[in-house]
């Protein structure tokens, strides 16, 4: 049992941290967030060159052979800079599903181009009505001989507008809410019948709603096993959420620290507002919330890395706490900054928005806690 990072991991952190500090000043980030693409293609190539896009992939595939711990480290540093590039969508979600598909032809065909930065990917697993339920899938995949025809609409697909390839969850059997009977398909974004409408989220992330009208696909487009897409998704979601947990802790630490520093500088009634005990005790609460979240993060990331039975439970605990602690920390950051915190010009509000988006990402705190309860309180 140990909670320290390897030499290699510390170097990884340093290199990402340096990039964020040098290339990702808030004003630069704000300009990027307002471009049509929503991120920098140039940065993406830098990520490829520095090997960051290869982190989760095996050395055989040309990857770094890293674990979720490495992804977590990367995302923590990204969180500090509110990095916009679609690492989560392309590498963790899209790449993650391919990586766990067990389909070596598909891996060989796709992973190298993720690693070299030439393919942008997306995972389309939610629909208009599905809220946080991965299993609520209406999109239909109908079999015609050796082919499938996909029809339906997918909502809020991260990186959906920029993606070259999209993994789509569709129903091949079962009812609308069943875990079984969901199959994942690899869809070329340019293929006939795929239409995408891009829009922006409040944290600057570009997403898309994607409609599929009789999109014809071969049997080879199936990712993983027929009807077993839900289990594959859940595994990838667990891995992704531990990395996103890293991002969350990066954001939280930043908000907490910025707030503490602000109270040291800001004077009211002739003294620094950090000298008011009521504020001090509230900032102690946000400090403790950061520490407790980090503990659950380490717990979950080890659980997932070691493929423990309780991995899903640990991830749900983490996700619940990220939602709750994130709300507390965001609220306090805004409240203690006062008026200036309420302006678009200051970075604080942007960090808060990112935390809010992380909360709803694959299930908010209330949802995650109920799912956690189902596992924890099963008799």
């Amino acid at each position: 049992m140990n909670f320290s990072f390897s030499e290699e991991q510390n170097m990884l952190r340093d290199s990402i941290s340096k990039f964020v500090q040098d290339q990702y000043e808030f004003s630069v980030r704000e300009k990027l967030a307002k471009t049509e693409l929503g991120f920098s293609a140039e940065n993406w190539q830098t990520f490829a060159e520095l090997g960051w896009l290869s982190i989760p992939f095996s050395e055989e595939m040309g990857g770094f052979g890293g674990s979720v711990v490495d992804s977590m480290i990367l995302m923590e540093e990204f969180g500090k800079g509110l990095v916009l590039e679609p690492f989560i969508a392309t590498v963790l979600l899209f790449g993650g599903v391919i990586n766990r598909s067990g389909n070596s032809a598909m891996m060989e065909a796709n992973i190298p181009s993720i690693i070299d930065g030439s393919t942008q990917g997306a995972l389309a697993c939610f629909e208009r009505q599905s809220r946080f339920e991965l299993s609520d899938v209406k999109t239909q995949a109908t079999k015609h001989g050796d082919q499938y025809s996909l029809s339906g609409e997918k909502s809020v697909v991260y990186n959906g507008a920029s993606a070259d390839k999209i993994i789509v969850s569709a129903r091949t059997s079962g009812g609308q809410y069943d875990n079984d009977g969901i199959t994942l398909f690899l869809v070329d974004a340019n293929v006939a019948g795929v239409e995408s409408t891009g829009y922006r989220m409040m944290d600057g992330q570009m997403v898309a709603n994607i409609t599929l009208n009789d999109v014809v696909l071969s049997r080879e487009s199936i990712v993983g096993q027929l009807d077993k897409g839900f289990l594959l998704l859940q595994k990838v979601v667990n891995e992704t959420l531990t990395a996103v947990g890293g991002e969350a802790i990066g954001v939280m630490d930043k908000l907490h620290t910025a707030t503490v520093e602000y109270t040291k500088a800001r004077e009211q009634f002739g003294v620094a507002i950090g000298s008011f005990q009521a504020l001090q005790h509230r900032m102690v609460e946000t400090f403790m919330a950061c520490e407790q979240t980090r503990s659950l993060l380490y717990r979950a990331v080890c659980s997932v890395a070691e493929d423990k039975d309780e991995a899903t439970k640990d991830v749900l605990a983490l996700k619940t706490m990220i939602g709750r602690a994130g709300k507390l920390i965001g609220d306090e950051a805004l409240q203690i900054h006062g008026g200036i915190g309420m302006t678009d010009e200051l970075d604080i509000g942007h960090y808060v928005k990112r935390l809010m988006m992380i909360n709803t990402f694959f299930g908010d705190a209330d949802y995650s806690q109920q799912k956690f309860a189902e596992l924890s309180l099963a008799a």
Partner: protein, 392 residues
């Protein structure tokens, strides 16, 4: 002790309902929600209220106040909110007017009050300054008497709707020698005066509601000074507890909560209405119970005020609890919107996403963060209660 309505109260309620049905039309509603027509529509609405004698609900009747009992105020607010009709912009009628009729000269009363009553002037508030937040009295904007004019230099910040305003009422420093509460004066300033510049501030809601207002050698006639020079703090203070009471927004919160119950009844998770979800049930009823309490707290404060006791520290309670409830409702709305709570671009996308309330959810949530900061931050309100109620 009873909560029944008298026959007169019931008749009044009917009258309000008829008025709202006739006046708050779909057409007006549409114009109120479009940016380009908002100001004119809001003025029209306030003028309709004034024609009915229902605009200046807290003024003494001699100046045109409605002369309502607490019960009537309660009934009107409830009906107005139920109908979804807007409140009145407070800066003129609720904020500067009491200072004018309380401490202004007869000339000032005659000049300003009728125009406020008829919503001919749009007022904004010049209190906060860059660098002086909750510590209002630390303000630095300077006014120096030069002949018959004060010459004003400095800046005010967080000024709501300054871009729409005809007039601004300001606290300015006329003397820096004593303690900071002394040496502050209360000035009424025409926004068209040369030297005033309005700089928009975009909020975290991505809207332009707030502004910074710069004063550069702005000449304000001495006739626009309220009461005595250097005594402005006294006048402003009298007004503050009023502002806090108004911020509570109980009737509005009741309406929002009942709207959200309807949303929760139709939004689904795994095919079941969110209204059946235990977390949502707890979140809604947590708010509802606090709000039911606050409604009666407000009634108790109104009743005490009608019986002659001025709302003092109790108004701080209304402000704290009222804004906490507003924020809880905004949070609940975001929770109901789920992933759609983050959708940034309005218009087309809203209909695409199938969740039309999500854009409103985000904007109101983000704008609402300021409620616990403005009007004296909730921390300052707690200090007030601690000092004046608990004696600590």
């Amino acid at each position: 002790m009873d909560t029944t309505f008298s026959a007169e109260d019931l008749a009044f309620r009917d009258e309000v309902r008829v008025f709202l049905a006739n006046t708050f039309t779909d057409d007006l509603k549409a114009r109120l929600s479009a940016k380009s027509t908002y100001k004119a529509a809001q003025v029209e609405w306030q003028q309709s209220l004034n024609n009915q004698g229902w605009f200046a609900v807290n003024w003494p009747t001699e100046y045109g106040g409605s002369g309502w009992t607490p019960t009537q105020k309660f009934i009107f607010e409830n009906e107005r909110s139920l109908a979804g009709a807007p409140g009145t912009i407070p800066f003129g009628v609720s904020m500067v007017a009491p200072v004018i009729y309380g401490f202004g000269s007869d000339e000032q009363k005659a000049r300003f009050l009728p125009r406020i009553l008829n919503s001919e002037d749009w007022w904004c508030q010049g209190y906060s300054e860059p660098g002086a937040g909750s510590d209002l009295a630390a303000l630095k904007t300077k006014a120096v008497l030069d002949g018959d004019d004060y010459v004003v230099n400095g800046a005010k910040i967080w000024t709501t709707y300054a871009q729409l305003a005809d007039w601004i009422f300001c606290l300015v420093r006329t003397d820096s020698s004593g303690k900071k509460q002394d040496g502050i004066s209360f000035l009424l300033i025409d926004m068209k005066t040369p030297g005033i510049k309005v700089n928009p501030i975009i909020g975290i809601d991505n809207q332009h509601t707030l502004n910074e207002v710069e004063f550069n050698e702005v000449r304000v006639p001495k006739a626009n000074l309220i009461g005595e020079q250097d005594k402005g703090w006294t006048y402003a203070k009298a007004l503050l507890s009023h502002e806090r009471t108004a911020i509570a927004g109980v009737a509005q919160s009741k309406r929002h909560l009942s709207e959200l119950k309807k949303v929760a009844a139709v939004e689904l998770s795994a095919g079941k209405p969110l209204l059946d979800d235990p977390s949502i049930r707890k979140n809604i009823t947590d708010i509802e119970i606090e709000l039911m309490a606050l409604e009666y707290t407000e009634l108790r404060v109104l009743a005490a005020a009608a019986a002659g006791s001025s709302p003092g520290a109790e108004s701080s309670l209304l402000k704290i609890k009222g804004t906490e409830i507003q924020q809880s409702i905004q949070k609940l709305r975001m929770d109901l919107a789920g992933v759609y709570s983050g959708v940034f671009v309005g218009g087309d996308i809203d209909s695409l996403s199938g969740h039309e309330f999500s854009d409103k959810a985000r904007v109101e949530y983000m704008y609402g963060r300021a409620a616990t900061v403005y009007g004296g931050s909730n921390e300052v309100q707690k200090n007030i209660i601690s000092k004046f109620v608990l004696g600590l």
